[in-house]
Symmetry: C3
Subunit: 214 residues, 3 copies
């Protein structure tokens, strides 16, 4: 298996597990089968599509390559018909989800770096690739995105993306930094789940008057 | 009237009826006149704009051709000042809405096919063109998009788009398949309204614990 | 300081005050520090990014120029750690916000005009540049965007954008019309705050049955 084939396989794998999470939210929200499919596709692909729109690589592979649509719909159908099974495997799904996050964060950062974005922007696009799908999934179900208020989810993606971007400027082989970034992201995410790590929340929210409209 | 003139007229007609639905939601949500106009424009044009962004045809006609903005604002103003009238014509609006859906689904699929997208992607973009406006309308009013949970709305669009895409690969005249796709989409949608057809909903949602965060 | 340097300084200033408003909403919604940063960036940059996507100028400066990311994160950090201070300066923030709105509306309209969009579209993109950030901020926190239902916010942006676009077609110096547009927008917004000006709301919403699904 060549390197680029491996990358595509891992990318499709990430899309699949993210799509599972989207489909599960759809079922919890009592959507019909079409809604479940839309949430599966959105969760699996919105991060990458947004990155590609911002980089100007259109049509995005998530649209033009049928395999991304295929694995998203497969995840949706699987979850719709065998929901109790997917539900029972939920802790396994969390592990897969962490793997998907790691993969998307490093591949997003690598793609942005290849487009000569500045390091800060490349890191941001890496994080966006990792969390964009879950954010759209939550917006479509009228929820505040969970990534904005809980867990060390985005930070894991940020660390992974930073390693990839840093490796580009240091005399590191890009495969090394990609691998290290992905492993670090995965490890941080798994530890955050196991130990309930949280980011700091704001102090002093005593005054709860409305913020300025705009 | 030439064919391309007819297409533009039908497209503007679809934009107008979708904009009516957006404006009505805005009034139900007690938005001010500006909010009603934004919802009218969003409902009438977001599907086509998203399709155009994904295909890379920017600026999208919905922005660069003043007639799309014009009919959207006209629908918004009409609904704002003569709301009781539009309300009384609501069943007629549903028929127009089905016509708009049929038109957007086939035109979206045809445009995506012309950009050499694969069949699956072309069908998806057809559906997206048809339902994107209503989805943004609902997201902006903090609702779960109705298309995700009720009626045979998206399926009608899918059938229409599939006929157009299929016709492209079979030895059919594209005008024939476009016409057949539009009529089928319209018929399915009208029958779904009349008979209350619904898509299947998930079974077994016994365990309602939170899905995995991402 | 050259003209273009001045424009960038003013643009960064607008981004900063909008990012403050995003961060404050994030704190009110009890997001964690990452969520506060995301809302700061979204509020400060989503309007300009959407305009750039629609015009096809990718990657947008908000992504490719690190200073936009920098001032957004600075506003987020400032608000997160010194929330009581920012809170106490809230009326000053409202003034800054009006200044940001004026700046974004005229710069958005000027950029769209430079891309040869029609006058109506250029005005719309000016308004979108001014209000897009606040809209995404509200959508991400599962609220109906405040701009859709209160205050003369968008109208101020519209007047500013219209002056810029009009100046392009009349024998006016563009610097003159940009300045006049910005001042008018700022003045209208400040007067609307002081005097509680509102746009008309719909009459006759007696029948509150559900609008047509789409």
């Amino acid at each position: 298996m060549s390197t680029s084939t491996l990358v595509v396989v891992l990318d499709l794998f990430g899309t699949f597990v993210f799509a599972l999470s989207g489909a599960m939210v759809g079922i919890h929200k009592k959507l019909d089968i079409f809604g479940v499919m839309v949430l599966a596709f959105a969760a699996g692909n919105a991060g990458g599509i947004t990155r590609d729109l911002l980089l100007g690589t259109v049509p995005p592979p998530a649209i033009s390559d049928w395999r991304y649509i295929g694995v998203s719909l497969a995840a949706g159908i699987l979850t719709f018909w065998w929901y109790p099974l997917v539900q029972r495997l939920q802790s396994a799904v969390l592990v897969f989800d962490a793997a998907g996050l790691a993969l998307f964060a490093v591949s997003g950062a690598a793609k942005a770096t290849a487009f000569h974005l500045n390091p800060l922007a490349a890191m941001m696009l890496g994080v966006l690739t990792g969390i964009g799908g879950g954010m759209l999934r939550d917006v479509l179900t009228s929820e505040v995105p969970t990534v904005l208020r809980s867990d060390l989810y985005a930070v894991a993606a940020l660390v992974g993306a930073a390693v990839v971007v840093g490796g580009h400027y240091l005399p590191l082989l890009s495969t090394t930094s990609t691998l290290v970034g992905a492993i670090l992201c995965f490890a941080i995410r798994m530890l955050a789940i196991r130990r309930g790590w949280q980011l700091p929340k704001p102090r002093h929210p005593r005054d709860t008057s409305e913020p300025p409209a705009s």
